[in-house]
């Protein structure tokens, strides 16, 4: 864990249902996380993922949003794309010059445990910048096998024009 590096990598391009929230404060992040939990548990969506994977997404949302608000600032935006294999989550803040810094030999009483948790819950993760903005992203598994997650091949067809 002490060797964790948060790689510089562009946000993956994924097609799927997109959820987006603006997060002015950590209290908004709490509210949105509870809203997200309710959405994920809705019967129409719950069959696409395991309970453990949904809890994982809520944890990753919490850690990346609190990092963005604490170390990033600016207008913080959270984006979740639901894809057949799981989710892509992207947190954007206004501090392109402060890269994600996983705790290395930092006293855990002062925090810094969030990114190592995210790394363990994710299949893939990274960060990138554009002028004035920083994106920190992670890809999470649904916990379902591919056969269960993609019952109909037509679901991968492109969006309607």
């Amino acid at each position: 864990m002490s060797t964790l590096v948060w790689p510089s990598a562009a946000v993956p391009t994924e097609d799927g249902d997109v959820w987006r929230w603006e997060l002015p404060t950590v209290h908004d992040a709490s509210r949105v996380r509870m809203d997200l939990r309710a959405r994920l548990a809705h019967p129409s969506l719950a069959s696409r993922s395991t309970e453990d994977s949904r809890e994982g997404l809520l944890l990753v949302f919490e850690e990346l949003s609190s990092n963005a608000l604490r170390h990033g600032g600016g207008s913080v935006v959270a984006l979740i794309v639901a894809v057949p294999t799981g989710w892509l989550i992207v947190l954007t803040d206004g501090s392109p010059d402060s890269p994600p810094q996983p705790a290395v030999d930092r006293d855990p009483a002062f925090g810094g445990m969030g990114l190592p948790m995210v790394a363990q819950l994710s299949t893939d993760f990274g960060w990138c910048t554009e002028p004035g903005r920083k994106h920190v992203w992670a890809r999470l598994p649904s916990g379902m096998s591919t056969a269960q997650a993609v019952p109909h091949p037509r679901s991968s067809s492109g969006p309607a024009a």
Partner: protein, 140 residues
């Protein structure tokens, strides 16, 4: 720890604009012991008040503080950090802080942060992973 028969000392909840959580302090079962029953969502928004609540609980306990997380419904790294902070606090000298963790919502983050060895945790199902070991993929 559910159905505790001790003496209720106090209940402290969050204000309406914060993540909802509640800490109830109960005396006992022996002299110098206090149980802090924590319920609700422990996240970054809750953390400042959670730390104050836990420190207040620690001051009530002359010898042993048991932090019972059985009623916690969300447990982020901020919650783990608060427990480590409490157990290392100067006012914890000469006292013991014990954590009761029974639900996966709480045991998962404790394992993921690798901080189990920094805390006295009871109620964990199964052996803890070795430091640096990747846990099984979620759902497997």
């Amino acid at each position: 720890m559910n159905g505790w028969n001790g003496v209720l000392i106090s209940t402290l909840g969050t204000t309406s604009d914060a993540a909802p959580f509640e800490v109830t302090l109960v005396d006992g079962p022996e002299d110098g012991q206090v149980v802090a029953q924590v319920r609700g969502e422990l996240d970054a928004a809750a953390n400042p008040l959670l730390q104050r609540s836990l420190l207040r609980a620690l001051r009530q306990a002359a010898r042993l503080l048991t932090v019972d997380l059985s009623g916690v419904t969300f447990f982020g790294s901020a919650g783990v950090t608060a427990l480590v902070w409490l157990s290392q606090h100067p006012e914890a000298a000469g006292k013991h802080v014990r954590v009761v963790a029974t639900s996966r919502v709480v045991t998962g983050p404790l394992e993921l942060t690798g901080l189990l060895d920094r805390l006295d945790v009871q109620g964990m199902p199964g052996p803890a992973p070795r430091p640096g070991e990747r846990p099984a993929a979620p759902g497997s």
